[in-house]
Amino acid sequence: MIYSISIECLQIAFVLGAAPLFVGWVRMLKCWAHGRASAGLLQPYRDIYKLFYKDVTIARNASWIFRAAPYITFGACVLAGGIIPVISTDLPLSLSADVIALVAVFAIARFFTALAGMDAGTAFGGMGSSREMMVASLAEPAMLMSVFTISLVAGSTTLSQMVHVSLSSPLVLRPSLAFALLAFALVAIAETGRIPVDNPATHLELTMIHEAMVLEYSGRHLALIEWAGEMKLFLFASLGVALFFPWGMAGVYNPLMLPVAFVSLAAKLAAIGAAIVLVETRLAKMRIFHVPEFLGIAFILATLGMLSFFMLE
């Protein structure tokens, strides 16, 4: 028990610490791909540090929701970091929240961010909230469906159990998992606000989705939101790893496996980062009303995955 609790704490600390590094890695690769000089791997840390030391400016009309939302978003993302098996399946928190609860934990964060976007009473804030909820309301079911396919294969919705089953069973190529993986990749792009759905680097008013909601934030509030966003990207990448490529993860009470787990995770995340950069440099951001089609494809793929499980397997 003490071992698993310490693993849990280790993993949460790791997620908190490594998330900005992953974002730094993606940004650095992107700069190289564009032929620009990069600000270095550590720039996200410097940004967060700088924001923490700045004073907070809040709109006069903003209520307590505006001030509470960054903390709730941050809290939800940290908790998600304790639920998803990133380095080990030996996680007590994973038993308290299964994959449906995990999706709902992300939904809480989004619910409050969207409310905060509407709180100040600006045009852009409301626009961001409306668009974010549009993307979310289509991405969330697709995400649930793609994860459910794996739950059906593993016979469980508890994440650590799902990973445990796929680690201990022999490698079989299943058509349902192929559909689920495709759907999950599309959903992850939408949920983390990457190109071609949203552009994390944009401040061009009419193309923003997530940025438009958090436009009014400053200082430590903004730092928390940025950090939570970086964790979300990191967590979606590691969730994809855990669900589809878990090999190398440490099992129950297996401390010797931990170094291997770290190294394999780093290698996989580096590859995912490269894939993100490849997609983002090759594709342009799509028009906002093409996003439903994009997510509709993800939804259909995920449903096909579940259907092929029921029909074929």
């Binding site: 030391y53 004073d55 400016t57 809040i58 709109a59 006069r60 009309n61 209520s63 929701i65 903390y71 941050f74 809290g75 940290v78 908790l79 928190l93 308290s96 929240a97 299964d98 609860a101 709902a104 939904a107 809480i108 989004r110 619910f111 409310l115 976007g117 509407m118 709180d119 100040a120 009473g121 600006t122 045009a123 852009f124 409301g126 909230s129 409306s130 668009r131 909820m133 549009m134 309301s137 991405a139 969330e140 079911p141 649930l144 459910f148 739950s151 016979g155 469980s156 919705t157 508890t158 401040h203 008013e205 436009l215 009014e216 430590r220 439903p292 449903t303 259907l307 029921f310 029909m311």
Partner: protein, 681 residues
């Protein structure tokens, strides 16, 4: 004739309601004390009925009492078992909160108009709902059903000077009676097969339970009963009365109608299909599941497009009834394949959602009443920033919004989680159609859940956040203590039912044991009270207390660390990308928030949208004003009901040709009739 404690308490509560309904007209001259006395007694009666319901579920055994009034050979049977006890508890619990709320709310109404009729029919309505649940025979059931329908009709047309209220009440009465006829026919079939069609022997539920119906007649009885109850529950396409009646009624009544009256229809469905017909063919469940899916998805789509707060909540009730039916349909499918444990899981999901929906929808309707009371408007386009004017109502309403959007650790999430578990735990069932139905069902349930979060972000963001959008300056104020208390207690229940589901599910064990012969209470608690493990801990587990404590700990730690160094918080004007001259009209409102949805799902809905230039003589680029018209219409109304009512009017118009008002012609009709009769005789 001995009465057990639960049945006696419930019956006594009904008697109090009936006495209050009789006494209220005598207090009509003193409106203030009428409200106080009536709702004090109704709160007391509700407490008693809550106790009765809880005790009846815990006891688990059925108790019957025969009252020798009624027609000869047709005495009234009162009966309470675990199932009816559960629904009695749900009805009375919300009844208690609404009674507390009504002290303030109805007093507010009493300043404008006499409320005697409201009080009388409120008491009759509560008595009617309780009697529906307590009746042990078809005859008494139908009488109670009518008492409930007619008293709620008078509550819907309480503001009888308004044309909309009268029209809404008429549609409601019409649909309620078409439904009642169907239910009556279904009971007729059941009673006939129980003891023959010549006598009244088969009219008790006890006799019907023992009847052996041929499969075809069982299916006919099921279809009749289901469509009758579906009309009351507001299942699409029988929902048309619901978005009309709920906004027209006073908010305390809408809370009861939406929160618990719809549940009496769910009770009827469960009673007939599981108890009396013993859940027959699998396609019954498939039908219920499909209708549930349609109601859930279409209900939330329509809800998202509404601008009237109470209409939006009414459509959201359609959605939630859909979610309940999804679980109920699953339970019926599992039961028909004798998978009793899974049937118990799905049935618990359905019942838990009944309880949850009563709490959060009751809370939201009471909140809508508070907003109406304080802003005198139902249209969300004219609201905004109420969180500054009504800080406590805002917090309570937020809990309701989070609960209905299925956010952990609140109650809405628990029932939805159980429903998803029922989907995912299903083994491979026989039949290609079912294999197709399960993934589709899970997908649409997921879509509904996500949509409802979006809907209630819209509601809360537009009503409580931002700036006031109205033309007149905002005069909203916080509502009185009793209204806040009524809503607050419902909010406490939302949190409690979300944090401690294992206790509630353990309590509900006797219901599923009685209906499907299995229970999940012991396996749900196997891991300790903190973890909800519906079947086995390896399959799925969820712990709301730990989740809640975890998020709170992180938030507290982050707050503490960030506030170690004191940094100033400066209040300034809105930045908004440096956009100057921002007005309240530039905010996103309800219509613009839902605009992406109209683009995506527009083809499913009936939408009329037009932009007209203000000055027809000028060319388009030089227009100063535009008028934007948007109408979202219910496709079901225009494709099913409109032709029907047109046809009825057509027939009526042509039938009036027979009437000329002249005595000679009428005498001629009689004469011809006589000739024809003589001819055939």
């Amino acid at each position: 004739m001995t009465m057990t404690a639960p049945l006696a308490a419930a019956f006594f509560a009904v008697i109090i309601f009936l006495i209050m309904a009789g006494v209220a007209p005598f207090l009509a001259s003193r409106q203030a004390s009428l409200v106080r006395i009536a709702f004090l007694f109704s709160a007391a009666a509700s407490v008693m009925a809550v106790y009765a319901g809880i005790a009846a579920v815990s006891a688990g055994s059925a108790e019957t009492l025969i009252i020798p009034i009624g027609l000869p050979d047709l005495p009234f049977y009162l009966r309470v078992d675990a199932l009816s006890g559960f629904f009695v508890a749900v009805v009375a619990l919300l009844g208690l909160f609404v009674s507390i709320y009504s002290f303030g709310y109805v007093s507010g109404l009493a300043e404008g108009r006499p409320v005697t009729s409201l009080v009388v029919f409120y008491c009759l309505f509560m008595a009617g709902m309780l009697l529906v649940l307590l009746s042990g025979d078809a005859y008494f059931f139908m009488i109670s059903w009518e008492l409930m329908a007619v008293s709620s009709y008078f509550l819907v047309c309480f503001e009888d000077e308004s044309v909309e209220a009268r029209r809404a009440a008429f549609i409601y009465l019409l649909v309620a009676h078409v439904g009642a006829v169907m239910i009556l026919l279904a009971f007729g079939i059941l009673a006939g097969f129980a003891a023959g069609f010549e006598n009244f022997g088969g009219f008790t539920f006890q006799a019907m339970r023992g009847a052996h119906l041929p499969p075809m007649w069982a299916s006919i009885a099921f279809l009749l009963a289901f469509s009758g109850f579906a009309a009351k529950a507001g299942v699409i396409p029988l929902h048309v009365w619901l978005p009309e009646a709920h906004p027209a009624a006073p908010s305390s009544v809408s809370a009861l109608m939406s929160g618990v009256m719809l549940k009496t229809a769910i009770y009827g469905m469960i009673r007939v299909t599981f108890d009396l017909l013993h859940a027959g063919a699998w396609w019954w469940g498939g039908l219920v599941l499909c209708l549930g899916l349609v109601s859930a998805v279409m209900g939330i789509l329509y809800a998202l497009l509404q601008v009237d707060l109470k209409r939006l909540l009414a459509y959201s009730s359609v959605e939630n009834i859909g979610i309940i039916l999804i679980s109920l349909g699953l339970a019926m499918i599992f039961k028909s394949f004798s998978m009793n444990l899974l049937a118990a899981l799905a049935l618990v999901a359905a019942l838990y959602h009944c309880l949850n929906h009563a709490m959060f929808k009751g809370l939201l309707f009471m909140g809508a009443g508070a907003i109406l009371h304080s802003t005198h408007g139902k249209n969300m386009e004219g609201m905004g920033g109420l969180i500054h004017r009504m800080p406590q109502t805002a917090v309570i309403f937020l809990i309701g919004c989070l609960a209905i959007s299925a956010m952990p650790p609140l109650n809405g999430f628990v029932s939805e989680w159980l429903a998803f578990q029922a989907f995912l735990l299903s083994p491979v069932l026989p039949g290609q159609l079912l294999r197709l139905l399960f993934p589709l069902g899970a997908a649409l349930l997921a879509l509904t859940a996500a949509m409802s979060a979006r809907c209630f972000v819209k509601v809360y963001g537009v009503v409580f956040l931002g700036h006031w959008r109205g033309k007149q300056p905002c005069e909203a104020h916080e509502v009185g203590v009793s209204m806040r208390l009524g809503m607050g207690l419902a909010a406490v229940m939302c949190v409690g039912l979300g944090l401690f589901p294992t206790f509630v599910i353990g309590w509900m064990d006797p219901i599923t044991k009685g209906l499907v012969g299995a229970s999940i209470g012991s396996s749900a608690q196997a891991f300790g009270w903190m973890w909800l493990t519906p079947v086995a801990s390896a399959r799925a587990s969820y712990s709301a207390p730990i989740l809640f404590a975890g998020v709170m700990a992180v938030i507290a730690a982050a707050y503490y660390i960030l506030h170690a160094r004191s940094s100033a918080v400066r209040r300034a004007d809105i930045w908004d990308c440096g956009f100057p001259k921002l007005t309240a009209r530039m905010q996103y409102n309800s219509t613009s928030f839902a605009m992406p949805l109209r683009r995506i799902f527009g083809s499913l809905l009936l939408i009329r949208e037009s932009v007209k230039p203000g000055d027809a003589r000028r060319p388009l680029p030089f227009q100063e004003r535009f008028t934007y018209h948007l109408r979202v219409m219910d496709r079901v109304w225009y494709s099913c009901y409109r032709p029907l009512s047109d046809a009825a009017f057509w027939v009526a118009r042509h039938a009036t040709r027979l009437q000329h008002g002249r005595i000679q012609i009428y005498l001629m009709y009689s004469f011809i009739t006589l000739i024809v009769l003589l001819f055939f005789a």
